[in-house]
Symmetry: C2
Subunit: 434 residues, 2 copies
C-alpha cells in the first residue's frame, strides 16, 4: 500500500519534503571494474571485446561475427508477429512526423550595423545507440532513440546490443531497420561503450552515445563523457496523476500500475481532491495487482514509493506538481487544458481522461525518453536537438570593426587581456596603445 | 615555438592524430575535499558557508553581510571607468538582441487523426551563476551567462562570487546590474556550489548552475549534478586560424596570442597553404611576445600546445578543421564564405580578415561560452535553450484512443508489460485480453 499524505495535515510540508527527496535507486559502485574494462578495450580493441563478450554474454566472436548482417535482420523480421510489426510501423511513422517538427531553422542575418551573425545547426557526424539485452530490450526505445537521429540527419547511427548466448530480440532488429540503423554490433556492457567512444579495429568511434543501460553502462557513459557526448543518465520512471473524483478508479489504478510494473524503483503518485475516490483507487490497485504478471515488481514499487496525496482543492495540486516535476504527468480532469499553463515542471503532460501515459510510451509520436527524478525542473525529453549542434557565425567588415572595436579593446584591457586588445587594435592601426 | 606539421610529410597522420589527443589539462583530484565541503554545507548551511569563506576568502560574515546590497552595487558602479561601462552597455545590448532570436517557439498542433501534440518551452525557475574571483573575474562572462537567462525569462537569477578579503571586481557588479541579476552573494568555491544546489537559511536552492570556475568548482558541479542541472565543464580555450598568404602576419600572430594569453593550457593553431607566411607568423609571434604583459602564459601555451600546419591546398584544411572541432575558428581568407558550409564542427566561426575572435569574446553579440576540447563535435555554445526546458503535451479523445490503442497494446504485450497494455485496454472496454 502506498503512503497517504493529506495537504491539510499539520505535518504535510515536512512529510512532502521528505517524500520528494526519497532516493529510489541504489547506486552500485562499479567504477573500478568499468575503468579496467574501458582501459582494456582502448588498449586491445577487438580482442578485448571478444574476451568480455565471451565472458559476460557467452558469445564467441571466432564463430559469430560481431556485426549483424542485413540477412540476419531479414531473418529476424520474419520472426516478429505481423501485428507487432504493424504496431512498430504505426509508432515509427508518428514519431518521425512529430520529431520532424523539431528540426531547428538556421538563423543567418545582418544587423542594423552591418554585422553578419548566425546560428547554424548541423547534425552530429556519428552517434552510438546502446540497447540493453534481456527483458529490458525494448523495440520502442530503439525507435525513440534512433528516429530523432535520423530526422536530425546524422549520417552514421551505430547500434550496440548484447547478444546473450547469441540471441538478440528480433523486434529490436526490426525496429532498427525501420529507424534506418545500418550498423549493428552484438556487444554490450562497459566494453560496448568503450568501443563506441574510442573505436576498435572493427568499430569506428562515434561522437555521442545515447540510450539506457544497467549500472555498468551508466558508469561507462559517465567515464567516457568529454571524449564523446552522452545523453542524460535515466533513473527509474515515474508518473504523477492529478485526478478528480469523476474518473473511473480502475482506469487511474491501471495507469499507476503501468508505471509501477517497470521497476521496483519506479514511482506512481496520485493527487486528488476526493478522499472517497482515493480509497477506491487504492482498492482497485490491490484488486488489479492480483492478476498482473509483473505483480511482484509493481507491488514493491507501489508499496515503497507510491503515494496518494489528498488536496482540498485541485488548484492546490499545481504547486505540488511543480515541485515533484514528474517525468509523466496525467491530468485526468474535466478541464485539463486550463491546468496546463500552470504546470511549469513536467517531462510530458497527458491531457484528459483518454490519454493514458502508455500512449506516449509507444504511439503518441512524442518521445518516451524523458527527464526522471525531478530533473524536469531543468531538462527536457530527448529530441532532434540532442543529435545536432549549433555553430555561431560572426562576420565584420572594416567598417563594423571600426565601430565595435573600441568597446572590445576597452573591455579586454579592463580584464587584463592585452593580447586580446591588440588583436583588434592592430587591425585599426591603433598600435599597442589602442 | 609551436610545433610544425606538414600535410605532405609521410608521418603527418600519425603526428596529427597524436596532436589531437594531447591533454592540455592536469586534472587535480579534489573530490574528497569537495565532498566534505558539500556535506558540511548541506548539514550546517550558513554556518558552514561562514567558516569556509573566512578560511578561504578571509571574509567574516559576522562583519559583512553575505548578500551584496543594491547600495553596494551602486557604489561599485561609480568606481568603474565610464569607458568600460559604455563598452559593457554596447556588449549587453548586442548580446541581448542576438539571444532574443534564439527564443524557441511552442509548437502546439493537432494531427490529421485529431491527436493533440505539443512541444512547450518554459524557463527554468531559478538558476545560479558562478563567477570566479581574482584575475579570472570577467564582467564579459557575467553578461554572457546572465543575459541568455534573462532572455529565457528565468524569474530568479542568483550570482555567487568569492570576495577575497572582501573585494569584488566592481565591473562584475556593474555587469550583473546590467544583466538584471538581483540576488548576489559573496561566496565562492565548492561551498557556493553546495549552497546553490541544496540551499541554506539565507540562500534558496536553484535548479541549474552555470558558469566557469577552478578545479574545486568544477568538481563540485559534477558532484551536485542530478540534484540540479549544470552547464558543460569548460576546458582551456582554443583557436584555429585558417589563413592564406595574403594576410598580414602580424594580425594573425596577434589572434594566436590573444588565445594563448588566457592560460598555459590554451591552444592556438594556424593552418595555411603558404610556408613563407607560416614562418612570417611564427616570427611575428615571437616579436609580439616581447611586449606582452602576459608573455609568460602566452609563450608557454604557444610552446607547449601551439601548432602551425602546412597544407598543399586550403581545401585540405577542411577535414583537419572538422577533426580539430575548434572552439573558435577564424577563416582569414578571400572567399571565407565558401568554406563555411564545409565546416561541420566548430563552436563559432569568425569570417574574413576583419573578424578577430576577440570581437566574439565581447561585443559581437553571440555567446563566448563555447564547447572546448573537441566537444564542438557533439555540443553547442551557451544559449537561451540552456535556460529553458521543453515539455511534451499529448491529448487523445476516445476516438483517437480507439484508433491508436490497439497498436500500443500490441507493443506493450510484445515487451512483456501487461499493466501497460491494460491501462489502454480498460479504457476501450477490451478487458484483460485486449
Amino acid at each position: 500500500m502506498a503512503i497517504r499524505l493529506d495537504f491539510l495535515d499539520g505535518d504535510f510540508e515536512t512529510r512532502f519534503a521528505a517524500f520528494l527527496t526519497t532516493k529510489r535507486e541504489v547506486s552500485e559502485d562499479v567504477n573500478a571494474t568499468v575503468r579496467t574494462i574501458i582501459d582494456d578495450v582502448r588498449l586491445r580493441g577487438d580482442a578485448a571485446l571478444a574476451d568480455y563478450s565471451k565472458r559476460f554474454d557467452g558469445i564467441d566472436f571466432s564463430e559469430t561475427a560481431m556485426a549483424v548482417t542485413e540477412a540476419e535482420i531479414d531473418a529476424a523480421i520474419a520472426l516478429v508477429e505481423p501485428e507487432v510489426l504493424g504496431a512498430l510501423k504505426v509508432a515509427a511513422v508518428r514519431i518521425e512526423a512529430h520529431h520532424r517538427r523539431q528540426l531547428p531553422k538556421d538563423d543567418i542575418y545582418e544587423d542594423a550595423m552591418g554585422v553578419g551573425l548566425g546560428s547554424r545547426w548541423t547534425p552530429i557526424d556519428a552517434v552510438g545507440l546502446y540497447v540493453p539485452g534481456g527483458t529490458a530490450s525494448y523495440p520502442s526505445s530503439v525507435l525513440m532513440n534512433a528516429l530523432p537521429a535520423r530526422v536530425a540527419g546524422v549520417p552514421r547511427i551505430v547500434m550496440v546490443v548484447p547478444a546473450k548466448d547469441g540471441q538478440i530480440n528480433p523486434a529490436v532488429l526490426a525496429a532498427a531497420r525501420m529507424a534506418g540503423v545500418e550498423e549493428i554490433y552484438r556487444i554490450g556492457g562497459a566494453q560496448a561503450i568503450a568501443a563506441l567512444a574510442y573505436g576498435t579495429e572493427t568499430i569506428a568511434p562515434v561522437a555521442k552515445i545515447m540510450g539506457p543501460g544497467n549500472a555498468y553502462v551508466a558508469a561507462a557513459k559517465r567515464h567516457v563523457f568529454g571524449t564523446v557526448g552522452i545523453d542524460m543518465i535515466a533513473g527509474p520512471s515515474e508518473v504523477l496523476v492529478i485526478a478528480d473524483g469523476s474518473n473511473d478508479p480502475d482506469w487511474i489504478a491501471a495507469d499507476l500500475l503501468a508505471q509501477a510494473e517497470h521497476d521496483t524503483g519506479a514511482q506512481s503518485i496520485l493527487i486528488t481532491n476526493d478522499a472517497g475516490f482515493a480509497t477506491a483507487v487504492e482498492n482497485a490497485v490491490e484488486r488489479q495487482l492480483k492478476t498482473l504478471p509483473r505483480a511482484h515488481t509493481a507491488s514493491a514499487s507501489w508499496r515503497d514509493f507510491g503515494a496518494v496525496i489528498l488536496v482540498p482543492d485541485l488548484e492546490d495540486a499545481v504547486p505540488l506538481a511543480n515541485r515533484i516535476a514528474a517525468e509523466h504527468l496525467e491530468l485526468a480532469l474535466d478541464d485539463a487544458d486550463a491546468m496546463i499553463p500552470k504546470i511549469r515542471n513536467a517531462g510530458a503532460i497527458f491531457v484528459g481522461r483518454h490519454t493514458p501515459e502508455v500512449i506516449g510510451d509507444y504511439v503518441g509520436g512524442s518521445n518516451h525518453v524523458l527527464p526522471t527524478a525531478r530533473s524536469a525542473r531543468f531538462s527536457s525529453g530527448l529530441g532532434v536537438l540532442d543529435y545536432m549542434k549549433r555553430t555561431s557565425i560572426l562576420r565584420l567588415g572594416v567598417e563594423q570593426l571600426r565601430t565595435l572595436g573600441p568597446a572590445a579593446i576597452a573591455l579586454a584591457r579592463s580584464e587584463g587581456l592585452e593580447a586580446h586588445a591588440r588583436s583588434v587594435a592592430i587591425r585599426l592601426n591603433l598600435g599597442d596603445e589602442g
